[in-house]
C-alpha cells in the first residue's frame, strides 16, 4: 500500500512541502507520525514540529519553512481553541496562501465550524494513508502555483 501510494505520487508529490504539527498539551502522536511517513513515502518534503508547540510557534515555522500545507493534529478536544489561534497567526504573517489541514478526533459539528473558519481539510481517525496523500495533493493542486 505504501509502495502504491509512493508510486502513484511520483512527480505529483515531490515538490509539496508540509509541516505537521502537534499543538498544546496533547501528546497523542501515533496518527501524526503515520501521516508523516505516508506523505514522505509519497515523495513530499515533511517536517514534523514535535510535541507541545504553541499555535504561534508552528505558524512561524510554517512560514520559515515556506510550506504548502500546515497539518495540525489534535486529539485532546481543544481544537476549537487551537485552530482559531492558528488562523489568526497566519493572518498576522500575511501567510494565507499556506493551506491548513486538521486531523484527529473532531466531532462533526466542529468540522463544519472549522471549515467555515478556513481550515481547508479535516482528516478524521481511520482515514487510510493513501487517501491522506491524495487529499494533500488535491489541496495543493486546487490552490495552484504560488
Amino acid at each position: 500500500m505504501a509502495e502504491n501510494a509512493a508510486k502513484s505520487a511520483q512527480g505529483a508529490g515531490e515538490n509539496i512541502r508540509v509541516l505537521l504539527a502537534k499543538v498544546g498539551l496533547d501528546g497523542h502522536d501515533r496518527g501524526v507520525k503515520v501521516v508523516a511517513r505516508a506523505l514522505r513515502d509519497a515523495g513530499m518534503d515533511v517536517v514534523y514540529s514535535g510535541l507541545h508547540r504553541t499555535p504561534e510557534e508552528v505558524v512561524a515555522a510554517a512560514v520559515q519553512e515556506d510550506v504548502d500545507v500546515l497539518g495540525v493534529s489534535i486529539l485532546s478536544g481543544a481544537h476549537m481553541t487551537v485552530f482559531p489561534r492558528v488562523m489568526k497567526a497566519l493572518d498576522e504573517h500575511d501567510a494565507e496562501d499556506i493551506i491548513v489541514a486538521g486531523g484527529g478526533v473532531i466531532p462533526d459539528d466542529d468540522v463544519a465550524r472549522l471549515t467555515e473558519m478556513g481550515v481547508q481539510k479535516i482528516l478524521l481517525q481511520d482515514t487510510p494513508p493513501d487517501e491522506i496523500v491524495n487529499a494533500f495533493r488535491q489541496l495543493v493542486a486546487e490552490r495552484g502555483p504560488r
Binding site: 498544546g24 501515533r30 507520525k33 514522505r40 487551537v82 466531532p107
Partner: protein
C-alpha cells in the same frame, strides 16, 4: 522438581508428531484440494506465525515448572492461588471531567451501579503540571479529565468516599508525586489511617518518554521523583502502589504485544535498579509494584501475553535482582480494553469488541479491569455508556463461569506455545536494550519510539489494505455516515469557574508560609539523597498549587524536549 521436566516423554512426542504428519498428508491435504484456506499464512497481532492447530509437540520447550500452579513461582497462571474464585477482579471504571465536584458525582453513580474501585482521569494541565490559569492550559481545563490545582479540589473529588474501604487509582505521571501528596493530606484530614490506604498512582515516567508523551523534567530528575514515591510508600503506606508500570500506552501508541511487554519490563528493570541503588532492599518495595496492560483485539495472543508477562517478571526479579519473597516476583495487573480499536462507524459494535477484550483480560488473570465506553471514539463516555461497560464485566464475572476456575485456558497447546514464544521475543528485545546501553540510553536514542512508530505504521498500512479487518471501517461498511451519538457535554464555564476557584485559594492562603516551603522544596531537590514527599505534603496543606510546586523545580531542573522520531 526437575527444572527440565517436560510434560510429555520423548516417545510420546515422537508418536504424536508422526500422527500429526500423517494427518497433514491425508485429511488436511485432501481437504485443501477441495477448499483452500482463507490465506497462505496466518499471524497474530504481533506477527507470530499461527499454525493450523497445536499439539504437545509444540510445547516441549516449556518445562512444567514454567507453567506450574497459580500463586506459585513463576506465577504464569496467576499471582494468587484462588484468583477470581475468592473475589472477582476489581471493576474499576476510570472517570474524570470538569471540576472535582462533577467527577465526585460520577464516582457516586458508579459505586451505586456496583463498581468496586475508583479510577481518576485528570485533565491535560493537571497531567502536565500546569495550573488551570497557565497559558498552555487554555481550552483543556476539565475537558479530558478532572481539573485539580490545589488540595481543595482534591477534597471535593473524594467527598463522602471512604478511602480506607475503596481503593483509588490515579492515572497521573510527571506530576504524580503532588497528587500522591494531596491524597495523603485528604486522607489525613478526613481521619483515615495512612497504613490502611490502598490505591495506585501510575507514576511511570519512562513510558511517557517512550509512548504517552506527558513529561515535565528531563529523565534523571524525573526518575528521582519516582524513587522518592517508592521509598516514601515503602515506609508509610504499606498497602499503596506507588508505581504502576504501564504497557497500555505503549500499545495504544502502536506497539504490538511483544513490544508492550518488553518495553514495560525494560522500564521495570530501570525502576528496580534505581530503588536498589538508593539502598532499599528489593523485597521491601517489590511486592508493591503493580502493572497496567492493554487487552487488545487478538484474543489468544492477549491471554498468552499476560501469562508471559508474569513469567518474565518473576524471572527478572528472582534471577536479576535476587528477590527472596514470592510476593516480589508476583506480577499483579490492571487491564483496560483497547481504546484505539473503538470505531466511530457503527459505535454499538464497540460493546462487542470490548466484551471480547475484557474476556481475554479475565482469562489472562487480571486483578482489576476497565472496560471502555462504546462512545469513546466520539468523546469521553456518557453515564449510560459507562453503565453498559460495567455491566459487560458483571456478565463475565457472574454469568459466564470464567471467574470460577483459575487459568482455565492454561494447558491449551496453542496458548502455552504462544506464551513461550512471546516470552522468547521479550527476552530478545531486552537483550537488545541491554546491548544498546540500557533503558535510558534507548529512550535518548529513540529506540522505543522508533519501534512503536514502525508498528503503528505497519498497522495503518495493513488496515488500509484490508489485511487487518475492522468491522464497519474497512469491511461491512454502512453507507450514510455515522449515527448521531449522544456525547458527553463539555461545559464551557468549567475553565472560568476553575480559575476563579484557584484564585480564591491563592487569596486565602498564608503567602509567606508557601514561599518559605517552596524554598525548602528547592533545597530538598538540590540534595539528591533527600526525599521530596514530606515537603510536598506540607506545601499542598499550605495551599500551594500544583503549578507553584512544578515551576519551582522547573527553574532548577529545566524541561524535557523530545527529539522527534518519525
Amino acid at each position: 522438581m526437575n527444572r527440565q521436566q517436560t510434560l510429555f516423554s520423548k516417545d510420546e512426542l515422537d508418536r504424536i508428531d508422526a500422527e500429526y504428519r500423517d494427518w497433514e498428508g491425508n485429511e488436511v491435504a485432501r481437504f485443501l484440494e477441495r477448499s483452500p484456506e482463507r490465506r497462505d499464512t496466518f499471524r497474530t497481532g504481533a506477527g507470530l506465525d499461527v499454525k493450523r492447530t497445536y499439539t504437545p509437540v509444540d510445547t516441549p520447550e516449556t518445562p512444567w515448572d514454567d507453567i506450574g500452579l497459580p500463586g506459585r513461582y513463576p506465577f504464569t497462571r496467576g499471582p494468587y492461588p484462588t484468583m477470581h474464585r475468592g473475589r472477582p477482579w476489581t471493576m474499576r471504571q476510570i472517570a474524570g471531567f470538569g471540576m472535582a465536584a462533577d467527577t465526585n458525582r460520577r464516582f457516586h453513580y458508579l459505586m451505586a451501579q456496583g463498581q468496586t474501585g475508583l479510577s481518576v482521569d485528570f485533565d491535560m494541565p493537571t497531567l502536565m503540571g500546569y495550573d488551570s490559569d497557565h497559558p498552555m492550559s487554555e481550552g483543556e481545563v476539565g475537558r479530558e479529565g478532572v481539573a485539580i490545582d490545589t488540595l481543595a479540589d482534591m477534597e471535593a473529588l473524594f467527598d463522602r468516599i471512604d478511602l480506607e474501604k475503596i481503593s483509588v487509582s490515579m492515572t497521573i505521571n510527571p506530576s504524580a508525586w503532588i497528587l500522591f501528596a494531596m491524597y495523603i493530606a485528604v486522607a489525613e484530614k478526613n481521619g483515615f489511617d495512612q497504613a490502611k490506604l490502598s490505591g495506585t498512582i501510575q507514576n511511570d515516567i519512562l513510558k511517557e518518554y517512550m509512548a504517552q508523551k506527558e513529561w515535565i523534567y528531563p529523565v534523571r530528575p524525573s526518575l528521582r521523583i519516582v524513587r522518592d514515591c517508592i521509598t516514601y510508600g515503602a515506609q508509610h503506606l504499606p498497602r499503596y502502589n506507588p508505581l504502576n508500570i504501564s504497557g497500555y500506552h505503549i500499545s495504544e501508541a502502536g506497539a504490538v504485544a511483544t513490544q508492550e511487554v518488553a518495553y514495560t519490563m525494560a522500564s521495570t528493570i530501570q525502576y528496580v535498579q534505581e530503588a536498589v541503588d538508593a539502598g532499599v532492599d528489593v523485597d521491601d518495595f517489590a511486592p508493591r509494584l503493580s502493572f497496567f496492560f492493554v487487552s487488545q483485539a487478538d484474543f489468544f495472543e492477549e491471554i498468552a501475553k499476560f501469562r508471559a508477562a508474569r513469567r518474565v517478571y518473576a524471572k527478572i526479579m528472582a534471577e536479576r535482582f535476587g528477590a527472596k519473597k514470592p510476593e516480589s516476583c508476583r506480577l499483579r495487573f490492571h487491564a483496560q480494553t483497547a481504546a484505539a480499536t473503538l470505531t466511530k462507524p457503527q459505535p454499538k459494535v464497540n460493546i462487542v469488541r470490548t466484551a471480547f477484550q475484557a474476556m481475554s483480560a479475565v482469562l489472562g488473570g487480571a486483578q482489576s479491569l476497565h472496560t471502555n465506553g462504546l462512545d469513546e471514539a466520539y468523546s469521553i463516555p456518557t453515564e449510560e455508556a459507562m453503565k453498559i461497560a460495567l455491566r459487560t464485566q458483571q456478565v463475565i464475572a457472574h454469568e459466564t463461569g470464567a471467574a470460577d476456575v483459575v487459568d482455565g485456558i492454561g494447558g491449551s497447546w496453542y496458548v502455552e506455545n504462544l506464551t513461550t514464544r512471546i516470552e522468547e521475543e521479550v527476552w530478545k528485545i531486552l537483550d537488545e536494550v541491554e546491548e544498546m546501553g540500557g533503558t535510558i540510553q534507548c529512550i535518548d536514542d529513540g529506540y522505543f519510539q522508533r519501534g512503536i512508530a514502525d508498528s503503528a505504521y505497519d498497522y495503518a498500512i495493513r488496515k488500509a489494505s484490508g489485511d487487518r479487518p475492522v468491522i464497519g471501517v474497512n469491511c461491512y461498511v454502512e453507507e450514510g455516515g455515522d449515527p448521531e451519538v449522544e456525547v458527553h457535554p463539555h461545559d464551557p464555564e468549567t475553565e472560568r469557574n476553575q480559575i476563579a476557584h484557584l484564585q480564591r485559594v491563592r487569596d486565602g492562603r498564608d503567602e509567606s508560609q508557601v514561599q518559605q516551603l517552596l524554598e525548602e522544596l528547592r533545597n530538598t531537590a538540590e540534595d539528591e539523597s533527600k526525599n521530596l514527599m514530606p515537603v510536598t505534603i506540607k506545601l499542598v496543606k499550605a495551599g500551594a498549587s500544583m503549578g507553584d510546586i512544578v515551576e519551582t523545580l522547573r527553574e532548577l531542573w529545566g524541561t524535557y524536549r523530545e527529539t522527534p522520531v518519525i
